[in-house]
Symmetry: C2
Subunit: 353 residues, 2 copies
């Protein structure tokens, strides 16, 4: 565990707390077991989390500053926004220092590490507070060599996607929630900063040195397989994203999944940040299956669609259309629950036994 | 330039200097412009380089120790062996320290950096010598976003492979040699430690953090395109290697090549170090073409085979067979020269104009 899952969190999303935009903040509030005491976004003071994202049952207030957050006695400030490249905006620094001086630890998922900033590091040391750079990888990772095939008896399911930020982590976590309800022993392997903040362990694969990315995944999957019947691996990026496709393929070849869930955002037409046009969703099915096949034959067994921004009716029609186009079960796991995704996994598990 | 290309080099390959085995040593001796004054391998004292690798015109002696090498007045010791994982064997350390104390700089291509070893760093500082960790990437790399398509007018050719260590760098360098002879302005982009040692610049992509691998390649290709009509990009790994496929795909999507040369080693049946069975060579052609197509349509236009270990007759038969199976020009660029590979590039360049 990188941090206590009972610690009280204030989430920093200055100017950026909106449904479907502040990915880390929303993911942590939605799925982490920690109490959320406040969200810092001075552009929305007076609202509560559930006013901004109605389907999250959280009434923590939006406040304008670190100072305002302190009255709610947070144990830590969690930096809740991030973007491609992962650098730290200069205007965050005074707030981070104020949080440390106010007695909070700081949890950070950016590529820029807090512990590498001399002023922040010195402040943390002086105030006796912790800096938790969750994207910092371990130093002793192996090169992958299909260890999952030899050393993992669990059924491994990887979420793959048409693009970044389409709901791969969310689909995995919703499937795990369904599994818990149905008393099925399913583990979640976090491979990105938000997933690590939520479940308390994992490795941010996009921060690992190229040669060791697949090895990092392999190691986590083998470890999770010791304690679970099903291992749900959080995917990253997309095989067609110019910037991140290498990370995506390393995940696929490190995890050696038995099956894949294809994730997509209904409104997404181009890859995020690079504006590369996306092929039609059904084209991703043979693409991922072919690339997986070099390690172990694996099918895309279901589709998880993020329908944020669509009405209930539009979402239903979109899901039906995708299911018809691919011949696969399809749902929005946040709107509809993930039972049909879990059913697809259990059917696949039965078949491959 | 990371280091002077006129510096006199002693190559360290203790116990491991054999044709086709000590990849870095052989590559540097074969292609770097630097004078090679000695190779250190105590198991073969008394021989010369050309006794061990007859097709290299180099009569530098094999000597048993750093002390023996010093009589030939080397400017630097170049660590000439490496393997998956890239750690530094403990028994090298006394020799590295002896080299520094003897007045040599040390050139290192391993994942383990010399500058991170306190004793080695202190010795270098005390002796006023340089430690050159060529695999150390720059700190300010971008996320890739198809900049090659927008900002590079040169014809970009990437070597791709069935596996690691099959001759991708060698094929690129032999093509460049042919181009120089024919007064064609072709640049070489080094993406691995040996390539960097040979041409004096580049970034070891397998040492770059996942999110920035493709961005590193993109940046180098755009830069090289400013000064060359053809840019020859050194590929890495293989799309079917469990440990390195992510690096391979990042290279493909960062370089956005116009065309690819497929490289293979005739005697290779399984991926190196992981023993994953290789598909038949013709299967790689549509695989690389499909994965390239997400950025820019690109064909595999020729095959470069490394026939080390085969007789002249066997090599000829193998090359003919591969050419027949794929319908593509094929040769061993070291045995036969790379003219037919360059011809294929020029034809392709003409077509895509």
């Amino acid at each position: 565990m990188y941090y206590s899952q009972t610690a009280r969190l204030a989430v920093y999303a200055q100017g950026e707390f909106h449904k479907g935009k502040s990915k880390t903040a929303e993911g942590v509030i939605r799925y982490a077991p920690n109490p959320i005491v406040a969200v810092i976004d001075s552009t929305q003071t007076g609202k509560r989390v559930c006013d901004v994202i109605p389907d999250i049952k959280c009434d923590a207030p939006l406040v304008s500053s670190i100072d305002d957050a302190l009255q709610f006695k947070p144990d830590a400030l969690l930096l809740g926004t991030a973007w491609a490249g992962g650098g730290m905006p200069a205007q965050w620094k005074p707030d981070i220092i104020e949080a440390l001086e106010g007695g909070m630890d700081v949890i950070n998922g950016l590529h820029d590490f807090l512990c590498d900033d001399p002023q922040i590091a010195a402040t943390a040391a002086r105030c006796g507070r912790k800096l938790l750079d969750v994207r910092k990888p371990p130093n002793d990772l192996p090169v992958a060599s299909k260890r999952v095939l030899e050393s993992c008896n669990a059924h491994v399911v990887l979420t793959v996607g048409s693009d970044c930020s389409v709901g791969k982590m969310t689909a995995s976590l919703e499937i795990q929630k369904s599994a818990v309800r149905r008393k099925i022993n399913a583990g979640f392997v976090a491979t990105g900063q938000t997933g690590i903040m939520i479940c308390g362990s994992g490795i941010a694969v996009d921060r690992v040195i190229g040669d060791f990315m697949a090895g990092a995944v392999e190691q986590m999957v083998v470890e999770s397989g010791k304690n679970h019947d099903i291992v749900l691996v959080e995917g990253q990026g997309s095989l067609v994203h110019p910037g991140f496709s290498g990370v995506t393929l390393a995940l696929l070849h490190g995890a050696c999944p038995h099956a894949m869930i294809l994730c997509h955002k209904a409104t997404r037409k181009c890859t995020i940040s690079t504006e590369h046009p996306l092929p039609p969703l059904p084209a991703f099915v043979p693409l991922y299956e072919q690339m997986a096949s070099w390690m172990r034959p694996a099918k895309v067994i279901a589709i998880a669609v993020n329908t944020v921004g669509l009405t209930e009716e539009e979402a239903g029609a979109y899901v039906d259309d995708m299911s018809r186009q691919t011949g696969l079960p399809c749902c929005d796991p946040v709107r509809h629950g993930a039972d049909i995704l879990l059913d697809a996994i259990l059917t696949n598990q039965e078949k491959t036994r």
